[in-house]
């Protein structure tokens, strides 16, 4: 029995570790969908780009610039990469997405899907399809900690705590600040918010920047855990979409909670029947769609 509990806790921790990425990515998707009504299919590719940027900053940039000594490590990347990816996202919104708002949301989805394929293709072209390990895991996060029920890599523990902190911070900003109130109001009735004198187009651009920045941040966090590969985003995004559907499209709270929860469910399924672990999320998605089409946290009706 004791062994069983340890096993459950251990798989739970590993599941939570996946949940980190589900939560951060679905959080970004939910923010973007809420305000822009765009289903950002490029989210996975931006996550992948984030991981690659971290890798490039450390392993390649110095070589390209002829400065062999230059290796920009994990901590600076954790700040720089989300900014870079967020800026790229804002350009994307200003130059491409903006023209599609007056049309059916499906056009936004198709456009971002195209962007995802282009990004993926570019990275496949310049790096191989097989993964490249990220060598710059910070020294202070190497090694393991004993959690009592399992030995857990320090870095993964950091990733879990850090992303819980990030999700909480984003949630607080949205729910408790004036900027967040503008965002929520803009999600409900952008025309009226505009009539009050709030620059909604700018808010939309910044929101897209923050959402995509979160994807970049998740990419940096993922780089030391998974090997960095051009397909890492495509693999993950499908699960993340299921998470978003289960949580409720556009629900911030739903995105975060169901992200972590579904990571856990996935982990625990491994204890009970391991082969089902990769499908359990989709099964849940079907059940949720049938019983509560707007998602667990979405506004029904």
């Amino acid at each position: 029995m004791d062994v069983m509990i340890k096993l459950i806790l251990a798989q739970g921790m590993l599941g939570l570790n996946n949940g980190v990425f589900y939560a951060m990515l679905s959080l970004g998707l939910a923010i973007i969908f809420g305000l822009l009504n765009v289903i950002n299919f490029a989210h996975g590719a931006l996550y992948m780009t984030g991981a690659f940027l971290a890798l490039i900053l450390y392993s390649y940039l110095g070589v390209w610039l002829g400065l062999e000594w230059l290796h920009i490590g994990f901590w600076p990347a954790l700040v720089l990469v989300p900014l870079l990816v967020g800026c790229f996202g804002m350009l994307l919104e200003r130059l491409l997405l903006r023209w599609l708002y007056k049309h059916d949301p499906i056009y936004g989805l198709l456009l971002t899907f195209g962007v995802a394929l282009v990004l993926q293709g570019l990275f496949v072209n310049f790096f191989s399809v097989s993964g490249t390990p990220y060598p710059a895991q910070p020294d202070e996060l190497r090694g393991v900690v004993n959690l009592g029920f399992m030995i857990f890599p320090k870095y993964r523990l950091f990733a879990i705590v850090f992303s819980i902190f990030v999700c909480l911070a984003v949630w607080l900003v949205i729910e408790r600040t004036r900027i967040g109130a503008m965002l929520r109001a803009g999600t409900e009735n952008p025309d009226l918010v505009k009539a009050f004198g709030i620059n909604v187009p700018l808010m939309v651009t910044l929101t897209f920047g923050v959402g995509t920045g979160l994807a970049g941040l998740a990419g940096v966090l993922a780089a030391p855990i998974y090997s960095v590969s051009p397909l890492m985003g495509a693999d993950l995004i499908i699960v993340v979409f299921a998470v978003v559907v289960i949580g409720g499209m556009g629900s911030i709270m739903g995105a975060v909670v169901s992200g972590f929860a579904l990571g856990l469910v996935e982990g625990l399924t491994k204890v009970i029947y391991a082969p089902a672990a990769s499908t359990v999320i989709f099964l849940l998605m079907v059940v949720v769609l049938l019983l509560r089409p707007a998602g667990l946290f979405g506004r029904q009706g």
């Binding site: 109130a181 929520r184 009226l192 918010v193």
Partner: protein, 238 residues
């Protein structure tokens, strides 16, 4: 008989479109500072659209909208409110469901000096003070309407566009709103009222504009209302 020598708001030949459909066909109206006018007419005549066109909430608009002599027709929507110091209270009140009362109240940015303080607002709308933590949609219709008016008074707007503020409200609340509008007029606000309830509007207004099929078809000064009752009944009968 014509409006004041210097119009606060002067609209000439205002045309507006939603997508392909042409909904305003040359609206002309004007009012001086401190005046209150009403836009009367049947549902779908273009009264709400006139207010929305002033706020830039239509797909396209042409003609002229001058506020204190400045042209607003080409100003982007999010700058119209602040530049024109306009407070807009939309049909259906536009209370945000995911914001609580205080957040709703604080949402519109201040557009000029002289806005009411929270204390003054709670003095004018005592009910709102008690429900300030409640979510926007968990209010009665009357409370929502008070909130929708209160939040534009906080911003220092001087020109108020109020769309159907009495719709669906109990007589006692309509009476309270009448008192509120009267006090606002005394404070020197310039007000455009879209109203279905002529008995509510008649004692408040300086002038009535009747709108039909997207244009102004008649203009009746307050003093001439009595004599024009037959005409008015004809315009407003369904």
């Amino acid at each position: 008989m014509t409006g004041a020598p210097s119009s606060y708001l002067k609209i000439s030949d205002l045309n507006a479109w939603y997508g392909e459909s042409h909904v305003l066909h040359g609206v002309d109206l004007e009012l001086a500072e401190g005046e209150l006018i009403t836009l009367l007419g049947r549902n779908g005549a273009g009264r709400t659209t006139t207010l929305r066109a002033i706020m830039g909430m239509v797909d396209r608009r042409t003609g002229s909208i001058a506020i204190r002599g400045e042209e607003f027709i080409d100003i982007p929507a999010h700058r119209i409110g602040p530049l024109g110091r306009i407070g807009y209270c939309p049909e259906e009140r536009g209370i945000f469901a995911s914001l609580n009362v205080e957040e709703n109240l604080m949402l519109p940015p201040v557009v000029g000096e002289g806005g009411m303080s929270l204390d003054e607002i709670f003095e004018m709308f005592p009910n709102l003070r008690e429900v300030r933590r409640r979510m926007g949609t968990r209010l009665s219709g009357g409370e929502q309407q008070m909130l929708a008016i209160a939040r534009i008074l906080r911003t220092g707007s001087r020109l108020l566009l109020l769309d159907e503020i009495t719709e669906g409200l109990a007589p006692v609340i309509v009476k309270t709103l009448g008192d509120v509008i009267r006090r606002l007029k005394e404070k020197g606000y310039t007000i455009v009222l879209v109203e279905q309830n002529f008995r509510f509007a008649a004692p408040l207004a300086d002038r009535h504009y009747v709108i039909e099929h997207g244009r102004v078809v008649d203009r009746i000064e307050a003093g001439a209302v009595e004599a024009s009752m037959d005409r008015l009944n004809h315009y407003l009968s369904v």
